[in-house]
């Protein structure tokens, strides 16, 4: 049952039922709630949750719901019922429910759920009840009460909390110490100052915690000097490192210069606990000549610190900092150079293209080259960066091209396509491969003709495989098969070399129209053996049944065993693709293939496809093959699969086939 449905039913009951009935129902629900334990029907709980939600806009309902929940807190209600009531009173409780909640504070088993409700109860009576409990509870219940008073920042509790901060129960003492920091009255501040002086090891973290909270309150309340004094105490070397680090960061926020001098002082010192935090803070310091000052510290640091400072400087995004980072591209230490490369990539724009391109020329390792490629790829600035990269590629003096091509291809801009197409003519195989890969990814249909020309004009033989793959990708983006076909056939008309003709012939299946098939037929009679070979392989890849007869002819007539197998595989693939529409023609084709088979391997290949033809005649054909011991297993599998597939439409044929299998 949905709660909204439940809610609708409840509303209906209120409207149409006599008051006495509704009252009885409400009374029963309350009674069920009071006795709720896990395992029982949760309807009373869900009903009161719904009533609490409705009470948001209804003062009368709110009072009555609170009164019901108050009744749950008293008497013999179960713990789980009281827990539920406290959760709901946390949302709608007022002073009315405080007495019952105060009663729960007396018992450690229920003090926690009482605090759950009282912590969110805005009435002064709630605070009064909690303060009273400071003198009557012990242990965890007391710690809980203290915590709640701290969260409520109850200034009237300070005097008692000061005493409790020196309680022998460490949990109680720590809770009181932290609560004093939250409440942050002058008395609380004096108490915490004394506790800091005491240096009690057991209370050390609690005192630090309370003191930090006090300092936060003072800083937020317009007393930064008093806050800074506390943080300065906590910065002393005797405190835990994380406390010192936190105090240091807080002091930076309070310093009038934003922490500039404090950071420089740490950078020039030997405090290892603070130095990384100081370097990390540099990116946010806004002083006029801050970048100059921080950059001046670079030579004084060890390389690992320099690497961190380079990153922080780069995030300052001003010319001085950027110049300092750029200078580190020539640093003696590799980790500093890598940091500078990475930082420029994350924070730079198109202006960084020539800078990083120059760095490519002086890169001292493959790792550095890869890092520069990554940075160039990451540069912000969209097409401005792409234009800068293409300009860089046209600059003959700019150094190595290959990484720039990699970057252009990775960035994925269509602006890169003309540049990449031009580079496909490179005689360097690596360059040509990268260029073709980029063309394959980025060139659109309108660039298909240029891509085919690039393939035809390939000058690096080792890049041919990448080139063919890439151009096929681009051609596949031309929606009209006739257009694809026209582009490739036109190129076949003017290419000279056999290698180029081979590549183009292999694109013909991607074109897939009748003209392309005719061109393929012509190529199969080419004077060049390599072209004939390419055409035969392309025929085996033809995408539709238009190639069936040519493949059958090849299958039946060739004396080249490799071609015969290629043809059979092509035929089986085409037949398999027709399995979705099985008919007599298809079964006849399977029969034709089996008749022409020259070995059991051939028959197994055909049976594998035949198994997918859900047709009773296909089933018969498969059954016929059961007699051949060399393909028995494949035939059985085919019979089972076809029988399963046709059992709904041809139950008798399927049953007979299964019986035949069982007999054997």
């Amino acid at each position: 049952m949905k709660l909204n449905l439940f809610s609708a039913c409840l509303a209906l009951a209120v409207v149409v039922a006599p008051f006495a009935v509704a009252a009885d129902s409400a009374s029963a629900t309350l009674e069920n709630l009071r006795h709720y334990t896990s395992g029982a029907d949760a309807t009373p709980l869900r009903r009161y949750e719904q009533l609490v939600a409705q009470a948001v806009n209804d003062t009368n309902l709110r009072q009555s719901v609170e009164a019901d929940l108050d009744r749950v807190l008293t008497g013999d209600a179960t713990f789980e019922a009281k827990r539920f009531a406290c959760k709901e009173l946390a949302v709608i409780g007022t002073s009315a429910s405080v007495p019952a909640l105060a009663n729960l504070l007396k018992d450690e088993a229920t003090a926690g759920i009482a605090c759950l409700a009282l912590a969110n109860n805005p009435s002064p009576e709630a605070l009064t009840a909690l303060r009273a409990a400071l003198g009557t509870t012990r242990g965890l219940a007391l710690a809980h009460v203290i915590h709640t008073l701290g969260e409520r920042r109850d200034t009237k509790a300070v005097a008692q909390l000061i005493k409790l901060a020196r309680d022998t129960d460490a949990t109680v003492a720590e809770s009181a110490t932290v609560a004093l920091g939250k409440i942050a009255t002058p008395g609380a501040a004096r108490s915490l100052a004394a506790l800091r002086r005491d240096e009690s090891p057991a209370l050390r973290l609690g005192v630090a915690d309370g003191s930090i909270r006090l300092a936060e309150r003072l800083a937020a309340g317009g007393q930064p000097q008093r806050a800074a004094a506390i943080y300065t105490e906590l910065l002393a070397t005797g405190w835990p490192e994380n406390v010192r680090r936190g105090a240091f960061l807080a002091l930076l926020r309070l310093d009038r210069d934003g922490g500039e001098r404090r950071i420089v002082s740490v950078l020039e010192g030997t405090d290892a606990a603070l130095k990384p935090a100081a370097i990390a803070a540099i990116s946010g310091i806004r002083g006029m000549d801050a970048s100059q000052k921080f950059a001046a510290e670079l030579p004084k640091l060890v390389p690992a610190e320099q690497a961190l400072l380079v990153e922080s400087l780069a995030e300052r995004h001003d010319p001085v900092a950027q110049a300092a980072v750029q200078a580190q591209l020539q640093a003696a230490d590799a980790s500093v150079r890598l940091a500078a490369i990475g930082a420029l990539g994350r924070n730079g724009d198109a202006a960084m293209v020539p800078v990083l391109a120059r760095a490519l020329a002086t890169a001292q390792s493959d790792q550095e080259t890869a890092a520069i490629e990554d940075s160039l790829t990451a540069l912000n600035g969209g097409e401005l960066v792409d234009r800068a990269l293409t300009a860089q590629l046209r600059n003959r003096m700019a150094g190595p091209k290959t990484p720039l091509l990699v970057v252009l291809a990775r960035r994925g801009s269509s602006l890169a396509v003309p540049v990449l197409l031009a580079e496909t003519a490179s005689s360097d195989a690596t360059t040509a491969k990268i260029a073709f890969q980029g063309v394959g990814r980025l060139a659109g249909a309108e660039q298909a003709e240029a891509a085919v020309r690039a393939l035809a004009g390939l000058r690096a033989p080792d890049a041919r495989a990448e080139a063919e793959t890439a151009v096929a990708q681009v051609l596949s983006r031309v929606g009209n098969p006739a257009r694809r076909s026209a582009i490739v056939r036109a190129a076949l008309g003017w290419v000279i070399t056999a290698e180029a003709r081979c590549s183009l012939v292999q694109l013909l299946p991607t074109c897939g129209d009748a003209d392309a098939l005719a061109a393929l037929k012509t190529a199969m009679a080419d004077n060049e053996p390599a072209v004939r070979e390419a055409a035969t392989r392309a025929l085996a890849e033809w995408p539709d049944m238009a190639a069936w007869d040519m493949l059958v002819a090849l299958y039946a007539q060739t004396d080249n065993e490799a071609h015969r197998v290629l043809a059979l595989r092509g035929l089986v693939r085409l037949a398999g693709e027709e399995n979705a529409r099985p008919d007599a023609v298809l079964v006849a084709r399977y029969r034709q293939l089996l008749a022409g088979a020259q070995s059991d391997d051939d028959r197994k290949l055909v049976l594998g496809a035949l198994a997918g033809a859900a047709d009773p005649d296909a089933l018969k054909l498969a059954e016929e093959m059961l007699a051949n011991p060399g393909v028995r297993a494949e035939a059985e599998l085919a019979v089972r699969k076809i029988a399963d597939a046709v059992k709904a439409t041809h139950p008798e044929a399927a049953a007979q086939a299964r019986q035949q299998l069982e007999k054997r």
Binding site: K2, L3, N4, F6, S38, G39, A42, T43, R46, E49, A53, V56, F79, E80, R83, C86, K87, A90, V91, I92, A109, G112, I113, C115, L116, L118, N120, H144, T171, S175, V178, D209, I212, E216, P240, E241, N242, V243, R245, G246, L249, A250, A272, A273, L274, K275, P276, A277, I279, A280, V302, A304, A307, L308, E311, S335, G342, G412, S413, R441
Partner: protein, 410 residues
């Protein structure tokens, strides 16, 4: 790229061994064991200790780590506070149930540990804010486990939206799967090997009910339902892509809510529903809780197209399709958190904010939690993302649940 630094730069004096980050795991259940290989694969992590309130899980985790290192040295602590007291541990990975996430993180920050904590970073909005305040208080580095920010598919989608490839974004659709229901069960004695008090932690005490313990995501105190648990991954993405990491939506409402039948089920959270939020600039976020586990996605819809990441497969689809040509190949899916862990390790060394620092995690969680409160009160709520208050007093009182002693630090 990892930063290689000397021990002195770690900020721990000259004592840090081998520049490794010494890690402890808190909460070694299914999620922790799933992600364990991603931590162990980091060359600069030494997984040195584990903690769990369940003895069986504690042993399994220790065994797995010892097997990896071929030593018996992994320390095992039933009480995570003992683990936090170990001075050699630099950082902790927290994969407890959601009820513990913020509190365990605050315990860790105060103990001087850096943190990787699974999402959601908190269950209530106020404890989330307390965590945000706590980390700088102790200079702790914190990474929320919303690792999709480190995942290529999501990074690509963000880049395309931020480059304006789909025009002005007006809607972000998100989808998590249908929530489960938990049948009624009676309380039973706490089984041997369980520290149930610690397991429950800051949640108000309640009897041990196996169904409630195993089905913790489906109760308000412990999990807040699928739209909170999983939804925060997507609200985090929405915030990141919209560039609203330091703020959030201003309005929340819910519809089509389907709740468990209280006659049959004790679980409290919604089975399905539609959760909406609106940003001040008019952008609408719609989080659907419906359909199956594999149907989750996030889709950004603009006035010139859309782009979607299918979370199950990491497949990105878009209109216009030309957008997809800009995607680089490679990159691991969200299931591999290595990049996210690497970001934490780099930040531990540099003391710089992580990708998913506490404010980021808190804002993402605030959205799903606000949706929860809107659903529970069955009303539209206006939200002030600066003051972090609603226009409804009762809703404001649901921003916080007083944690149980002694399982709290703030």
């Amino acid at each position: 790229m990892p930063l290689l630094v000397t021990p002195s730069v770690l900020g721990r004096g000259a004592t840090a061994p081998n520049s490794r980050v010494v890690l402890g795991g808190i909460g070694m259940g299914n999620r922790a064991m799933f992600i364990l290989p991603n931590f162990l694969a980091q060359p600069d992590i030494q997984y040195a200790a584990v903690s769990d309130a369940r003895a069986d899980r504690l042993k399994a985790a220790k065994d797995a780590i010892d097997t990896h290192y071929r030593t018996p040295d992994c320390r095992a602590f039933p009480d995570f506070r003992e683990l936090l007291a170990q001075p050699d541990i630099d950082a902790v990975y927290i994969a407890t149930g959601n009820r513990w996430h913020s509190m365990a993180s605050m315990f860790a920050a105060r103990a001087g540990k850096d943190i990787y904590c699974e999402k959601p970073i908190s269950l209530t909005i106020r404890e989330g804010r307390q965590l945000v305040d706590m980390c700088p208080r102790y200079g702790a580095i914190y990474q929320a486990g919303t690792q999709r920010r480190s995942t290529e598919s999501y990074q690509f989608a963000r880049k395309m939206v931020r480059q304006g490839r789909i025009g002005r974004v007006h809607t972000v659709e998100m989808q998590v799967w249908t929530g489960a229901v938990v049948p009624h069960e009676k309380a039973v004695p706490v089984p041997a090997g369980w520290n149930y008090d610690e397991w429950l932690g800051p949640v108000a005490w309640q009897p041990f009910v196996l169904g409630r313990v195993n089905g913790w995501p489906y109760f308000w105190d412990t999990g807040e339902g699928m739209h909170t648990d999983m939804g925060t991954h997507y609200t985090d993405q929405m915030q990141w892509v919209l560039g609203t990491d330091d703020t959030g939506p201003v309005e929340f409402e819910t519809s089509d809510m389907v709740w468990p039948d209280p006659v049959k089920y004790m679980s409290e959270t919604a089975i399905s529903g539609t959760f909406r939020c609106h940003y001040a600039n008019g952008v609408e976020g719609v989080l659907y809780q419906r359909k199956g586990f594999t149907d989750r996605y996030i889709r950004y819809i603009g006035d010139e197209g859309w782009i979607q990441v299918d979370d199950e497969t990491d497949v990105v689809t878009a209109e216009p399709k030309s957008i997809l040509q800009r995607r680089q190949t490679g990159g691991v899916g969200w299931a591999n958190a290595s990049s996210h862990i690497r970001n934490l390790l780099d930040c531990i060394r540099s003391r710089r904010p992580t990708l998913c620092h506490p404010e980021v995690g808190h804002r993402a969680q605030s959205i799903v939690e606000s949706m929860t409160i809107s659903a529970r009160l069955n009303r539209k709520l206006r939200w002030d993302p600066v003051k972090e208050v609603f226009d409804c007093e009762e809703a404001n009182r649901m921003l916080y649940r007083e944690p149980r002693a002694p399982w709290r630090v703030s």
